[in-house]
Amino acid sequence: MGHVSTVQRRYVLMGGTAVTLTGTIRRARAAATPVRRWKDYADCRFGQIHLVSAEPADGSGKGKVPLVCLHQSPTSGDYYREFQMLMAQDRLVICPDTPGYGGSDHPPSLPTMAELGGAMAEAFVDLGYGKAGKGPLDWLGFHTGNYVLTEIVAQRPDLVRRLVMPSIPYYPAAERDAKREQYAKPRPYFTDPDYVGRSFKDAVIHADSPLPKDRLLEFFVERLRAGPESWWGFDAVFRYDADPALAGITQDVLLLIMELETLAQPTRNAGKLMSRARSVSYVELPGMNGTNWQTTPDRLVAAIKPFLDKS
């Protein structure tokens, strides 16, 4: 149990420091560095993985470890656009599309989480990262993205320096089965003539969201791009026994607890399994959910940067 004693658990409540953080962000914005953003591909076992990258246009981000952001299902790396543009003020931030989503090739058959994580790891080795190349990266997951990440840690730990893990879909086995029944099934694109039109109205036209309609349209399009196999990511999540991978993490971990997410408590529960992690820090984010990646990315940057930048 020697590993357990090395775990430092640190809890931070972001709400109480919001004024200070907001001021910091405003000063940072006033001196904002122009960011260049571009798209690219890398190779993996399923074909090509599509990536959107961003970094300071003046090259000033070279000194920091790049951050990779892994998205939830059924979205794509573009989900992080607003957060990425702020986070990339001082480092390279890469947002890949998980195989089967966005612009990445689809697996030929229903993939396991180990296959999705393995394919993603291959893409970053192809980009030159890892022990034989440019060294490790920092990683951020969200929902499905967290389990793609735990598999990267399990299979290629040399690719991972630090982990930021908001909203981990961690459930006991029985609950996972029930959720797989609920979410992991084909959508009736071709059998229900009204499905697409109805979904469009729900997700874009009549959506109860603070986001502009054109951004909601982009989200909807990314969902459609995953096609009839858009449920494969959910299937991989709810078939995945995360216990061994979570218990095997040896790096520093930051757990963001978004209070309004249904995955707030599952994330806390997942943290309890990280007994071998070098450190596990918790930051509670009152009043926040996934929409905050787009609406208040500055608050998330403020919650994440100190963890990534600590010596």
Binding site: P193, V196, G197, D214, L217, L224, G227
Partner: protein, 272 residues
């Protein structure tokens, strides 16, 4: 059947990145000059999936997404056809094409005029031959009339029923061409272009096609299917100085989808 290697990549253009789907024989060999394909609007280079697969048996085929469509960055404001052509000429030059490394061009509907403007923006001798199909070449009065009938933007966000009814018509009822899955992804690309997907058609009907077509000096093959652009394509053949017209009147509008092998053979014979 030769094994085909297919991959996606980006090239830089004046509006940002241009997305390209390329394919060539798995065993790379010195074949005929590569062929660049430009799509109708509001689709993407993926519309040529089957044609590309056939033609790539013996040459490199690039299928470009026009700026603002598919995976290509959009122009910051409504472009003229010359702007599309200039951006795609940028992309071709950034891929290494020029007088020392010539290329052939193919385009259908909007893509035919994109091909014309791309050729006119490249250095002389860069474009060896061109294949144009369904060329929207109209007299000025007719062009103005058709332009006036176009919407400023597609009502994707203003008409709650637009997406659903368009999906039913094009995908489920098969008013678009090709297999169900192809129609599905073509619909997705239509939605992906967003309300400004209307810019492509606007550029078509704002272009002085007679002046541009008359400037082409390379050999040009015109392929006419049995569709609304049949007569405009015939008319275009009369304007281009070095034109050859092939009519495939037993094929409908998207003949390259319904009969990709026949269309590929016609193109291959001309480019030989």
């Amino acid at each position: 059947m030769a094994d085909i290697k297919k991959w996606r990549h980006y090239a830089d253009g004046r509006f940002g990145q241009v997305h390209v789907v390329s394919a060539r024989p798995e065993k790379k060999a010195d074949g005929p000059p590569p062929l660049a394909c430009f799509h109708p609007s509001p689709t993407s280079g993926d519309i040529y999936r089957d044609l590309q697969f056939n033609l790539a048996r013996d040459r490199l085929i690039h299928c470009f997404d026009t700026p603002g469509f598919g995976g290509s960055d959009a122009p910051p404001r409504k472009p003229a056809m010359a702007d599309y052509g200039a951006a795609l000429a940028d992309a071709l030059q950034n891929l290494g094409y020029g007088p020392e490394r010539p290329i052939d061009l193919f385009g259908f509907h909007t893509g035919s005029l994109v091909a014309v403007e791309t050729a006119l923006h490249l250095p002389e001798m860069t474009v060896r031959r061109m294949v144009l199909s369904g060329v929207p070449h109209y007299a000025p009065e007719e062009r103005a009339k058709q332009r006036a009938a176009l919407p400023d933007v597609y009502p994707i966000l203003s008409d709650p029923d637009y997406a659903g009814t368009t999906y039913k018509r094009l995908v489920l009822e098969g008013k678009d061409a090709g297999e169900l899955e192809q129609r599905y992804y073509r619909f997705v690309n239509r939605l992906r272009a967003g309300p400004r997907g209307a810019w492509g058609a606007q550029a078509v009907f704002e272009m002085d096609t007679a002046a541009a077509l008359a400037r082409l000096v390379m050999p040009v093959l015109l392929i006419a299917f049995n569709e609304m652009m049949l007569q405009p394509t015939r008319d275009a053949a009369a304007v281009i100085r070095n034109a050859r017209l092939v009519e495939m009147l037993d094929l409908p509008m998207f003949g390259f989808i319904t009969a990709p092998d026949r269309v590929a053979d016609t193109i291959r014979n001309f480019l030989a």
